[in-house]
């Protein structure tokens, strides 16, 4: 019994695997942007059982759906390393440490934003907990299997566990300013991490003692500390909301002290200032293309951040953190060509193989290679051009977006009380800081 419970978090993985619809498809005669192996003109891709079976000219295959990609650009499905779509809860902003919560519990497979992301070529997103807490919740890497009814079917099975950390203004604002409790400063934020890691370590020891027969009764069970222990064991990749150079260095120091090395800094607007240190640590960076000045800690930013990080050898991605931006990440990546003159391959890597590396799924997605998942985005015009228009988006060999055939209204769930769905006014800046989603309702404060 105790064994089972102690490792219960792994039970989730052993839960019967949900049938995940996958298909067979042949994409003919496109310009294939493989990302890892150059560009192949007039090339076919055959997907069988959801996996890329072959990439060659003039592939003959029977009994498969054929997409004529003549004159079109075929690239790997776009991956967003930072989003908050497809989940019903973003922030459990009630405590500076909530490692035990998991947004994967709150997947909303009917969120229309999944479809809209597909219409921008995005096949995988990293649904993240928000940044209200220094240690927020665990995140979920989801595949955009639009149409699946079971939330579990959205999970990318086998993707490594990830967790959200947050530095700077958000945890300081929510807890320090909002409630008058630690942390109200970046000094305090550091101690929140040190304290949580120390407790996780002690917890691990207590349980080892019990399991080794040293103690006779079970210690108190605590899912929060258990999760910290899992991070210490290297089972969870940290994705840390961060802006300022000093706090980025601080967290790397803390992690070094606790022997943790899997870290991707998110937003990391001042990453460009400490790019050599990030590269040396092996830390990754997932950044906005051009967001800045929406709060003080991003006032000294530059849209050249991604270019500087890339040139310094940091594995870098461009993310959305927004249900609007996620629809045109191909355009966001292209901005690194205006701001830093990255090559096509470098720019496209920022939304394909690099985020895949950051999520620990690069062996399965992020480039067009035989054996990888059949996640493909097909564009009219080069995806980095402003004139690019996504035509088809394919997940596991199944077409999930088809510009010609899809209906206008693609809702999965229809409110039975509503004849014509409500109209939502555009609110300037509603997207910024969507990392703090939900917190202000909890705090009864206004956002601006």
């Amino acid at each position: 019994m105790k064994q089972v419970l102690y490792i219960f978090s792994f039970l989730i993985l052993s839960y019967p695997i949900i049938a995940q619809e996958s298909g067979d498809i042949l994409i003919k005669n496109g310009t294939v942007l493989t990302i890892t192996n150059g560009n192949l003109k007039f090339t076919d891709i055959l997907i069988r059982d959801g996996k890329i079976k072959s990439i060659a000219k003039d592939i003959k295959a029977e009994d498969v759906k054929v997409i004529d990609a003549s004159g079109l650009y075929v690239m790997p499905g776009i991956i967003d390393a930072h989003s908050h779509i497809a989940i019903d809860a973003v922030n459990e902003g009630t405590n500076p440490v909530t490692a035990e919560v998991n947004v994967g519990d709150a997947i909303d497979p009917y969120d229309i934003n999944i479809y809209r992301a597909l219409a921008g070529g995005v096949t995988i997103s990293h649904a993240m907990h928000g940044s209200a807490n220094a240690i927020g919740g665990q995140c979920e890497t989801i595949k955009h299997r639009w149409g699946a009814k079971d939330p579990a079917a959205m999970r990318m099975d086998g993707a490594p566990r990830t967790i959200k950390f947050a530095l700077g203004e958000n945890p300081m604002r929510v807890h320090g300013e909002g409630r008058g409790i630690v942390p109200a400063t970046r000094m305090g934020v550091e101690q929140v991490f040190r304290n949580a890691f120390a407790e996780g370590k002690a917890y691990m020891k207590e349980w080892e003692a019990y399991q080794g027969g040293v103690t006779s009764v079970p210690p108190e069970y605590n899912l929060r500390k258990q999760t910290m222990a899992d991070i210490l064991k290297g089972d969870i990749i940290i994705h840390c909301h961060s802006y300022r150079a000093d706090e980025i260095l601080m967290l790397m120091n803390v992690l070094e002290d606790y022997g943790v090395d899997k870290i991707c800094f998110q937003h990391v607007n001042e990453g460009f200032k400490v790019a050599p240190e990030l590269a040396a640590f092996g830390a990754h960076a997932s950044v906005f293309s051009d967001w800045w000045a929406y709060k003080f800690e991003v006032y000294y930013s530059t849209a050249y951040n991604a270019a500087i990080l890339t040139e310094n050898g940091v594995v870098t991605s461009i993310n959305s953190d927004s249900r609007e931006l996620i629809r045109h990440l191909y355009h966001e990546a292209a901005k690194t060509q205006r701001y830093g003159e990255l090559s096509d391959d470098q720019a496209l890597s920022l939304i394909t193989i690099n985020p895949a590396i950051q999520l620990g799924i690069e062996d399965r997605v992020g480039s067009i290679e035989e054996g990888k998942d059949g996640d493909i985005a097909i564009f009219k015009n080069h995806p980095l051009s402003i004139y690019a228009v996504p035509q088809y988006t394919i997940v596991d060999g199944a077409v999930r977006f088809n510009i010609k055939e899809d209906a206008a209204d693609m809702r999965q769930e229809v409110n039975p009380e509503e004849q014509i769905p409500a109209f939502y006014e555009y609110r300037a800046h509603e997207e910024e800081d969507s990392c703090l989603q939900g917190v202000f309702e909890q705090l009864f404060l206004h956002q601006h």
Partner: protein
């Protein structure tokens, strides 16, 4: 499944219940023996009947048979050739559960660590002392054919344990601590506030309860040298859950919450009941695989026609401009229709899948009960299936089917008598017998309306009541069925508050009715409305407080 559930459902204490105290305001019943002669008794699992005579004594169906002699001491009910059904069992509601007074949220220094009761985590609480035996709902439920209700506490994540009650005015509690009740409802501004924290907290509590139990066992076996297990009533109350001795009724209206509850069950392994579910279709395969009982909500989204009348006014306005219609108007209307049909079809889908279910009335407006059943039947549910869900299936789920859930000799006397088969047009429940306690429900006399004017007040009306320092406004909906009026009052000052009018009477120009407001105490408000075309003037009177003028206009009329 419910080892703790009562074995003896009823103790007959009708006569002399206050021993030694004389009370001449009450008249002792001449007999507690009832005789029903030549009635058609509903056969469970079917829509057929068997003609029987029934003798009821001591709250039990003493005898059933083809041609019984009326006992000398029996009261014979005049129900020849009527139809007898087992009383309905409401599988989940707040019927009779007092509303907590709204208190200001207590200040908590660390919102991450609130006291359990403040956070809404009180699984050890029972409903003792929290019933209101005079709750108006009990009477109307009983008139609608219900005999028992499984009621759950109000609150947040784990508000406490449920009770089973009998729908009569005295001695109503049959059992307490029947099941643990859980909701994905977060605490206000403190942990756990979101669904993700509730799920994490559940795992944490569940495992801690299991470990506490393990610790207790170790300690009990060899107390010497073993650290004492902590005394924690809250955690201890969950130990039966971890041992599958008590079920967890989890409120899951949406399909997403159904999936979430199923995932927790698969992970932790306990007796889950999906309660008050509105949509289950896409989860049926999982529900069957995990063998989880379902309690479907009897509430349905408003039917198309009714809704159109009231309408999405904001959008209706659009349509006034004939030149500009929404380009997807037809498609959107179709999708909405399909969505309504989806809700209506759930019971039929479960029946087709061969998965037994019961019904809850939690969010049901009592006037919609039978029409919603009919909508489900039109959408594919069989009549027999509907009756089973309301009777024997519910009894099985509560593990009381050996004594309740059908009309059989030896079972407890929970039944009602209808003049026609239940689903027939004009069927009326004239008698209910609950725990042997008999009530007659006479069909209301049709009042003769003044020709030409009587039907004129149906529809929706606004109201404004000038109470000093407390202006009230809202809408009053008047509906006419045959010649009887029913009234519903929506008060805008108390959000989501709806009151049903009692003692409604209309003389052709003046409508009077009363509503009962539970707000700490009980407040009876008498309404008098004098209609003049599309407006009215009138007043409300409240005992002890006086009269206050009211007025209003017509908002909508029926087609």
């Amino acid at each position: 499944m419910y080892k703790t559930l009562f074995r003896l459902l009823s103790v007959m204490i009708l006569p002399g219940f206050m021993f030694g105290q004389i009370d001449y305001d009450k008249v002792k019943e001449a007999t507690d023996v009832l005789f029903l002669n030549d009635v058609y008794v509903h056969n469970s699992g079917d829509t057929t009947f068997t003609m029987q005579d029934i003798i009821i004594q001591d709250g039990i169906i003493k005898q059933m048979g083809g041609s019984l002699e009326a006992p000398y001491n029996a009261r014979t009910l005049k129900v020849d050739s009527s139809y007898v059904y087992p009383s309905f069992i409401d599988m989940m509601s707040h019927l009779g559960v007092k509303k907590e007074e709204r208190k200001e949220d207590p200040r908590v220094k660390f919102p991450g660590f609130p006291p359990n009761d403040v956070a809404g985590i009180t699984p050890e609480w029972k409903l003792t002392g929290k019933y209101d035996t005079k709750d108006g709902g009990i009477k109307s439920y009983r008139a609608a054919g219900f005999g028992m209700a499984h009621i759950v506490p109000r609150g947040r994540m784990l508000p406490g344990q449920s009770s089973l009650i009998s729908l009569k005015s005295e001695d109503m509690v049959l059992d307490e601590g029947v099941a643990t009740y859980m909701q994905f409802t977060g605490a206000r501004r403190m942990y756990p506030s979101t669904v993700i924290a509730i799920m994490a907290k559940w795992r944490d509590l569940f495992n801690n309860a299991a470990y506490l139990s393990e610790h207790q066992d170790i300690f009990n076996k060899s107390p010497l040298g073993t650290p004492r297990p902590k005394k924690d009533l809250m955690l201890e109350s969950l130990i039966p859950v971890t041992k599958k001795e008590q079920a967890v009724f989890t409120r899951t209206e949406s399909i997403k919450s159904v999936f979430r509850a199923l995932e927790l069950e698969a992970e932790l392994d306990y007796q889950l009941v999906l309660a008050n579910a509105e949509v289950v279709d896409d989860a049926i395969a999982k529900i069957k695989a995990q063998n989880v009982p379902v309690v479907l909500s009897l509430a349905l989204p408003k039917a198309e026609k009714e809704k159109d009348k009231k309408g999405d006014k904001a959008e209706k306005k659009d349509n006034k401009d004939k030149a500009v219609e929404h380009p997807q108007k037809e498609e959107l209307a179709q999708r909405k229709r399909e969505s309504i049909e989806r809700y209506e079809s759930q019971a039929g889908l479960l029946e087709d899948a061969g998965h037994k279910f019961a019904f809850s009335t939690m969010d049901l407006k009592s006037k919609d009960f039978k029409s919603n059943l009919n909508r489900m039947i039109n959408a594919g549910l069989s009549k027999a299936g509907a009756l089973d869900a309301l009777t024997i299936n519910a009894a099985k789920l509560l593990e009381i089917d050996d004594v309740a859930g059908s009309v059989e000799q030896g079972k407890l006397a929970y039944l009602f008598v209808s003049n026609k088969p239940y689903f027939n047009e004009g069927a009326h429940i004239g008698h209910t017998i609950v725990d042997g306690n008999w009530l007659e429900h006479p069909k209301k006399e049709k009042k003769k309306a003044k020709a030409g004017t009587g039907s004129g007040i149906s529809g929706e009306w606004s109201y404004e009541i000038a109470i000093p320092e407390d202006e009230r406004s809202g809408t009053i909906t008047i509906e006419k069925a045959d010649d009887d009026y029913s009234v519903t009052v929506f008060d805008q000052n108390q959000t989501d508050t709806e009151f049903t009018g009692n003692d409604v009477s209309y003389n052709g120009s003046t409508l009077t009715f009363t509503i009962t407001i539970e707000d700490g105490g009980t407040l009876i408000v008498n309404f008098t409305m004098n209609f003049e075309g599309d407006s009215y003037e009138g007043f409300i009177s409240i005992d002890g407080l006086g009269e206050f003028p009211m007025q209003g206009q017509r908002i909508t009329s029926p087609e």
